[in-house]
C-alpha cells in the first residue's frame, strides 16, 4: 500500500477500494461515500496535497458505476500528484461535494453536473455553468446525441 492510501486509511479506515500506478501516475480508488474524508485526509496529511488541480468525470455506460469521477490533487512543495477515483453510480449519479474542503471545487463540480448530470450533495450553487441554464440533457454523456443540429439560416429559399 502506498503512503497516500495509508494516509487515507489512517483517517477513514475502509475508504480505499484499490490503488494502482499506470504510466507513472498513482490512482487511488475510494468508496464514493468517503470521498470528502479522503480528500480532507490528503489535504491535511503529511503529503500536503494542498492544491486541488482538477475535478472531472468520464462516462462508462457499460460499467455498473457508470460515472467515474477523477480528482487530481497536487502538492505545491514537492510537485507530487495523486488521482482519486470514485464511481458516482449509473442511476441518479450522486457524490458528496468537496467544496467544504476546497472552495475552488465549486465551478469544477458545476461543470461536471452540467456536462454529465452528476449531483453533488452539499454543493452551495449547483446549476449549469457552460451550457445555457435551460439546456436539457448532459452533453458529455456518451449517449448524448450529436450532430443533426437544426440549420437556423440558409440561403436556399
Amino acid at each position: 500500500m502506498s503512503d497516500v492510501s495509508a494516509q487515507i486509511e489512517a483517517v477513514t479506515p475502509g475508504a480505499v477500494v484499490a490503488e494502482f500506478t499506470h504510466v507513472g501516475e498513482l490512482t487511488v480508488e475510494v468508496r464514493r461515500e468517503r470521498i470528502v474524508e479522503a480528500c480532507r485526509a490528503l489535504r491535511d496529511g503529511p503529503g500536503q496535497f494542498a492544491l486541488l488541480s482538477d475535478v472531472t468525470c468520464a462516462d462508462f455506460p457499460d460499467e455498473p458505476g457508470r460515472f467515474r469521477m477523477a480528482y487530481h490533487l497536487a502538492s505545491i512543495q514537492t510537485g507530487s500528484r495523486v488521482r482519486l477515483r470514485a464511481w458516482a453510480g449509473a442511476l441518479e449519479p450522486e457524490i458528496e461535494s468537496v467544496t467544504s474542503v476546497w472552495p475552488g471545487a465549486n465551478w469544477m463540480e458545476r461543470e461536471v453536473y452540467d456536462q454529465f448530470g452528476v449531483h453533488f450533495a452539499g454543493h452551495p450553487d449547483l446549476c449549469r455553468i457552460l451550457n445555457p441554464l435551460d439546456w436539457s440533457g448532459h452533453p458529455l454523456r456518451r449517449d448524448y446525441p450529436i450532430g443533426g443540429e437544426e440549420v437556423q439560416f440558409t440561403d436556399a429559399e
Binding site: 490512482t27 494542498a50 492544491l51 482538477d54 505545491i76 475552488g104 471545487a105 456536462q115 457552460l130 435551460d134
Partner: protein
C-alpha cells in the same frame, strides 16, 4: 410569444429569467444563488416580492447619508472584460458588495468534439481553447497522449517545444500588458506591446504557417524542423526585447496613476488563493513559488537556468511586476535554448504513430500504407488514463485523457487555468470600487476561450 410565470402568477417574464428558472423547475429544486441573480426580480415568489417592495420602500429614503443598493450588469459584451465575460455586480454606492460571474458564452463543446475525432485530429481542436496560448494547450494534450503511448520525444523536439512555449508566454503576457494598460488609460503601452507581439506572431507564422492556433506539435514531437534563418531571427528578437521591456516599465512601473490604481487593490492571502485552486502569476504574486517548470519539470525544463519571480503583496501591482519579470525570465530561457539547441530528429521514429517523411511516399509502398492508415483511421492508444500538467502563461494547464484502446479518445478534459482562476473574481473584488474591478479582472488575465472551451 407570450409566456407566463411558471409559478402561475401570469406576468410576462424576460427570456433570461425564464431560462434561469427552467432548469430548476425541471429538476424540482429551488433556484441556486447564481440562478437567482440571473433571474432577477422575476424569480421572487409573491411573498418575496411583497417583502422586497416593502424593503424598497424603506430604501427609497432619499435623506443624505442613506445609500441605495444598485445592481448593474457588466458584459457579456463589455470592452473591459477581456472577452465574453458577464459580471453581475451589486453595488453600494461605488463599492462592490457582490459579484456573480456568468460564463459559458463562448462554450463550443470542444471536449465533446474531441471524442468524435481521432487522437490526431483532436490536436487541431485543443489549440483553439486558450487562444492566447495555443502552444500551451497543444503541449499539454500531446504530452498526455505521449504518456499513454509510452513514446519517447527526441530532445530537439522537446527544446523546440520549450522555445515556442516561452515565446508564447511572452506573446500572451504582451497581450495582457497591452490590454490591461488600455483599460487603465495607458494607451501607448497597448501599441508598443502589440508591435512586439506582432514580431512574435511573424516568427510563429514562419515556423508553423499560422499566426494563431498553430497546429505545429504532433504526438511524438514537432510537425517539421525549424525553418532556415529562424534561430537568427529569434536571436535578433531576444537582443531587442529587453530594451522594449525597459520601455514598458519606464511607462508604467513608476507611473503614479498606474501605482494608485494597482497598489493594494485586489488582495487575497495565499492560503485562500490556493484553496480556490488559483495558480500561475496570480498565486506567485501572493508569495507561493509554485511554478510547474521548477516544481515538476517537463519537456526538458530541468536543463535551463531561470528564476521564478514572486512577490509578497498579492495585489494587482504585484501581479503586474511578476508578469513583467516573467517576460525577462522567458527571454533568458529562449537565449539558452537557441544557444544550445541539440541536433537530431524532431519527431519520434515510430511508424505506427508518426507520419512517414513526405519524400518517402514517392518510393516506399510501406510508407504510403502507413500514411494512409494514419490519416484515414488514426493510431490507437493503449487503454488507460493520463494527466499531463504544464505551466501555461496563466497557471497550471492540465490535460486529462482517457483511452479505451481505440483510435478516438474516450474523454479529453482540459484543466484550464483561466476557468479556475476566474473563481477568485468575487472574493478579490468585494469591498473595492467598481473601477478597480476592471483592474482586478485584468490582472487575473482570463482568456474566455479557455474558460468556456
Amino acid at each position: 410569444m407570450s409566456t407566463t410565470d411558471p409559478r402561475t402568477e401570469n406576468f410576462p417574464l424576460a427570456a433570461e429569467s425564464r431560462e434561469a428558472m427552467e432548469g430548476a423547475l425541471r429538476e424540482q429544486r429551488p433556484l441556486t444563488p447564481t440562478e437567482r441573480v440571473i433571474a432577477g426580480v422575476e424569480a421572487y415568489t409573491p411573498e418575496e416580492a411583497a417583502e422586497r417592495t416593502l424593503a424598497n420602500e424603506m430604501l427609497a429614503d432619499t435623506r443624505p447619508g442613506v445609500r441605495q443598493p444598485l445592481l448593474i450588469n457588466l458584459g457579456p459584451n463589455h470592452p473591459s472584460t477581456h472577452g465574453v465575460l458577464r459580471l453581475i455586480v451589486e453595488l453600494d454606492g461605488e463599492v462592490v458588495k457582490e459579484v456573480t460571474p456568468v460564463i459559458g458564452y463562448l462554450h463550443t463543446g470542444i471536449e465533446k468534439q474531441c471524442e468524435n475525432k481521432t487522437w490526431w485530429q483532436a490536436i487541431t481542436l485543443v489549440t483553439r481553447m486558450d487562444y492566447l496560448a495555443p502552444f500551451a494547450n497543444i503541449t499539454a494534450y500531446t504530452m498526455s497522449v505521449e504518456k499513454l503511448l509510452g513514446i519517447e520525444v527526441p530532445s530537439r523536439a522537446e527544446w523546440i517545444r520549450v522555445l515556442l512555449g516561452e515565446m508564447n508566454r511572452l506573446a500572451s503576457h504582451l497581450v495582457w500588458l497591452g490590454t490591461s494598460g488600455l483599460e487603465l488609460g495607458a494607451m501607448s503601452v497597448f501599441f508598443y506591446c502589440y508591435r512586439e507581439r506582432d514580431q512574435l506572431l511573424d516568427l510563429f507564422e514562419m515556423v508553423s504557417g499560422e499566426r494563431m492556433n498553430h497546429r505545429y506539435f504532433q504526438v511524438g514531437g514537432c510537425a517539421q524542423d525549424l525553418p532556415p534563418g529562424f534561430i537568427e531571427r529569434v536571436r535578433a528578437f531576444t537582443d531587442e526585447m529587453p530594451k522594449r521591456i525597459d520601455e514598458y516599465e519606464a511607462l508604467l512601473t513608476g507611473n503614479p496613476i498606474w501605482k494608485d490604481r494597482m497598489k493594494g487593490i485586489g488582495v487575497l492571502p495565499a492560503g485562500e488563493l490556493l484553496a480556490l485552486g488559483v495558480t500561475g502569476p496570480t498565486l506567485r504574486a501572493a508569495g507561493v513559488p509554485y511554478d510547474l517548470r521548477k516544481v515538476a519539470p517537463y519537456s526538458g525544463y530541468e536543463h535551463f537556468e531561470f528564476d521564478v519571480p514572486t512577490a509578497t503583496e498579492g495585489d494587482s501591482f504585484a501581479r503586474y511586476l511578476v508578469r513583467v519579470q516573467e517576460m525577462r525570465e522567458s527571454l533568458r530561457i529562449i537565449r539558452q535554448v537557441i544557444d544550445g539547441m541539440p541536433e537530431g530528429r524532431v519527431i519520434a521514429d515510430d511508424r505506427k504513430v508518426v507520419l512517414p517523411p513526405r519524400e518517402e511516399l514517392a518510393y516506399s509502398m510501406e510508407a504510403l500504407i502507413h500514411h494512409f492508415k494514419l490519416v484515414s483511421e488514426g493510431f490507437t492508444v493503449p487503454a488507460g488514463e493520463a494527466y499531463a500538467p504544464i505551466e501555461s502563461p496563466r497557471g497550471e494547464m492540465g490535460c486529462y485523457v482517457v483511452s479505451d484502446g481505440g483510435p478516438k479518445p474516450h474523454r479529453v478534459h482540459m484543466r484550464d487555468p483561466s476557468f479556475v482562476n476566474l473563481q477568485a473574481t468575487a472574493p478579490l473584488c468585494k469591498g473595492n470600487y467598481l473601477a478597480d474591478l476592471i483592474a482586478i479582472v485584468a490582472t487575473l488575465d482570463p482568456v474566455m476561450g479557455g474558460v468556456d472551451r
